[in-house]
Symmetry: C2
Subunit: 487 residues, 2 copies
């Protein structure tokens, strides 16, 4: 691929102006209907042509008895049909002139010999008509920025910057809520299924060219085109980071993958080698995969591995220090200049070593803006890691001592939380060095929720933050190694 | 200690019938006032005597100018005072006949030589009067079952079964919300601070004898009485599991701990040795510490390491299989009998290997009750791991096809979710083999929230579940090794 997104076989799959959908009906529990519901739910603006043998309308859209009857050639066909009829529908789509398809239906190679035969037939038919397709045995694609969600779960969160190609559809759909919880989301996600035609390498190429995608994430049970994978990744990584979770490295994972998508997986060391050679960061859990994407997509790259940890609680500071070192970072001492500048902010109970333990700060903006500003400017710091918490009772107490009470208290508490989170997120997101937060609080806490919504990276716990920061350093190294200038 | 809880120096600290509190006032932002607020908030039923030099009442309680004026000898004194006056207040308490204290005030050994001198003086005074005390430089103690919360954050969640002794107060107070999110909570928690008198070993002894505590958790920056620690743990572990997070294993963690509590930490391998010898499970993050407690406190012990994974999504099943193997478990094939019994439940798209991938199930109770019941009875299974998700839209769609609509839909959806979670949690909590759930959904999802509230262990993600299951196996081994019968 040359790098122009319109030339990708996935362009019309992720950005169709018109779609034909096979298998949607007025029966709510059918998979096809669910997919059409998701397409409507996200506010798709293109034309929708349900094809149904008997229904006159499907979810209030005029239905067509066959694809031949459609008033135009749609950009994309989506098939959610019994396995046996898929090849003939593919043929009919070819005759109509359709060039792109998503085959959701399962029952192909993943179920054994008979299915493999049917899959071969499907490929031949598609090839004959020049049709490029995703699947079979996939759950579709989502392009949140284009308001297109052809998967069976609704995407109820705002568009994001994480591109994903996944050999499990669950890690697209079932992550909508997971990512949304942290204010994250997919830019575009592809469930590649059995990869009979389009595969994960094609998806990487598309996502590399996609302007809405800042980081590429992969869920891999097996890489089918090894050398193409390596070659594509090495081209992409200097421009955009790639992070992969690989599930087939254990015997149990390998067997599970085999029965899931018919993938033949390899040993851990083999895949470690492939990833290292490709410049792909390996994540060891799905959560870690997205943690790394979160930091890479919201922070500038660090220049080195020296971290200053800021805390107002000793324990979380100590745990963060321990975690940083375990994930490859160093905690330098503060420069003399920084110590002098900090003096007015740090109470006598606090500590000016690293972690900087403030124990408490006189004004909230000290903790969230002024002190981190000073620490960021320390010549010994490549990154900052901030411990964040703001229990609502504490906020209410602060306001009460300022004379706020009664009906005003709730409104003022909300206003206070929103202002503080705005200042903090502006500082974090505008920084020329990575500033990452961590908290044991989550979206139930309004301060943390507000930071998520504003796009600030506030990771759940210091270990997850430290691992993601370590991965940023891995990317730094890969990018340097693979950039043409360094060759 | 003989094992009778009333004989522990911590008994009156965790179960005081009456308290004197020094440092509480009517100023909301003071630490002392916060602690008194927390005591009131949780519904403490004992007598409260604020001691204050000038106020007539403190938070509506009659205040006393000095401890000598109190109408009785309280069980416990809580001191949140400027460092310098603590020894003389301890002296006054001794003269009054008080035998137990919590010293919250900091500024002692952790700040250097002068502080260390003051701490020595404090110890001498306490010893002179036979006073046992927690701290200094701690944030108190909480006994949720006794409705006593002498820490500066309110505990807004129900009592739980996790006992904790922590060298960081944050890992008591700042965990109230974290644990509450998962339906968990502390039974009793002690912040030990500088351990000038009572230390973490005393806390372990108390928690071992505490009937509300099912699992003992420790946050450790340094163990001061090494041989007593080992000896106590070896006695406790056959009856009750102990899980510890140790933060001082890296250079950065060691330094941070030193400035936090003046602890002198040792290398990782030294602590690994201590923990192994003691039968204490080592956790590698605070989240992992509590994950392990969650499973140990809600599940029977497994008899071996063979896990059957049940899923309806291939990807999460594969990831769970991979994670289980990485954490020391095996995934056996299903027995022939199980396969026969499952046949009526598993659709043709599904898989009867392990993970058992149902792809979908005809009835919800199949997935949540009937199928796990069959799997549990498999002679090859020591544990079950279930993938759990129930998006609300799916529930609504199921109900709509059953003819429910309009105003009824919300109420019926809630009822359906609650019924399903009740069946599932009954099955999980009543099982003679461990049944553990995992989900990428969290408390925002009503099904998962309901399971948390019912006390079922549903861990956030397969890796965390697998690690906690692996830790149950570690405990099994430690318990066997340390039980007198096996000696």
């Amino acid at each position: 691929m040359t790098g122009k997104i319109e030339e990708s076989p996935l362009y019309s799959i992720a950005n169709p102006e018109s779609i034909a959908i096979f298998g949607a009906s007025n029966k709510y529990t059918s998979m096809g209907t669910s997919i059409l519901s998701s397409i409507l739910h996200i506010g798709y603006r293109g034309k929708i042509y349900p094809v149904h043998p008997s229904e006159k309308t499907v979810l209030e859209y005029k239905a067509y008895q066959s694809v031949a009857d459609l008033p135009e050639v749609p950009d994309l066909a989506i098939m959610v049909l019994p396995t046996g009829v898929v090849p003939e529908v593919m043929e009919a789509c070819g005759q109509k002139g359709i060039k792109h398809a998503i085959v959701v239906s399962g029952g192909f190679k993943e179920v054994g010999k008979d299915g493999a035969g049917l899959e071969a037939k499907l490929k031949r038919t598609a090839a004959q008509y020049g049709i490029r397709f995703l699947g079979p045995n996939c759950i579709g694609a989502v392009n949140t920025h284009f308001r297109f969600n052809a998967t069976f779960l609704p995407c109820e969160h705002p568009p994001g910057f994480i591109g994903m190609a996944s050999q499990s559809g669950s890690f697209i759909t079932q992550m909508f809520a997971y990512l949304g919880r942290y204010g994250l989301g997919f830019s575009t996600g592809f469930s590649v299924g059995n990869e009979a035609d389009i595969d994960i390498v094609d998806c990487m190429e598309y996502l590399a060219a996609c302007p809405d995608t800042k980081v590429i994430s992969l869920y891999i049970e097996s890489i089918r085109r090894g050398s193409e994978f390596v070659e594509a990744a090495r081209r992409i990584v200097p421009q955009k980071p790639i992070v992969a979770y690989y599930a087939g490295g254990t015997e149990a994972g390998r067997k599970a993958g085999l029965s899931h998508t018919g993938a033949l997986a390899g040993e851990d060391p083999v895949y470690n080698g492939i990833f290292r050679q490709s410049g792909v960061i390996r994540a060891w859990s799905i959560e870690e995969l997205f943690d790394i994407c979160w930091c890479l997509g919201t922070c500038p790259l660090p220049k080195g591995n020296r971290v200053i940890v800021q805390t107002h609680s000793g324990g979380p500071g100590t745990v963060a220090a321990d975690a940083c070192e375990r994930f490859g970072m160093k905690l330098p001492g503060l420069s003399e200049e920084t110590k002098q500048r900090l003096a007015e902010y740090v109470p006598h109970t606090g500590s000016m070593s690293n972690p900087v333990d403030l124990t408490f700060s006189r004004r909230n903006l000290d903790y969230f803006v002024n002190i981190p500003e000073i620490l960021k400017q320390d010549e010994n710091a490549d990154m900052l890691l901030l411990y964040l918490m703001m229990p609502l009772r504490t906020v209410r107490m602060i306001l009460e001592t300022m004379g706020v009470s009664g009906d005003e208290l709730e409104a003022e508490t909300e206003k206070f939380v929103n202002e503080q989170s705005r200042y903090l997120s502006d500082m974090m997101l505008g920084s020329e060095k990575p500033v990452i937060g961590f908290s044991y609080y989550s979206g139930e806490n309004p301060f943390i929720k507000s930071l998520y919504d504003l796009g600030a990276p506030v990771l759940p716990g210091p270990n997850r933050a430290a691992r993601a920061m370590g991965a940023m350093l891995e990317y730094l190294e890969f990018r340097e190694k693979l950039s043409p200038a360094s060759g």
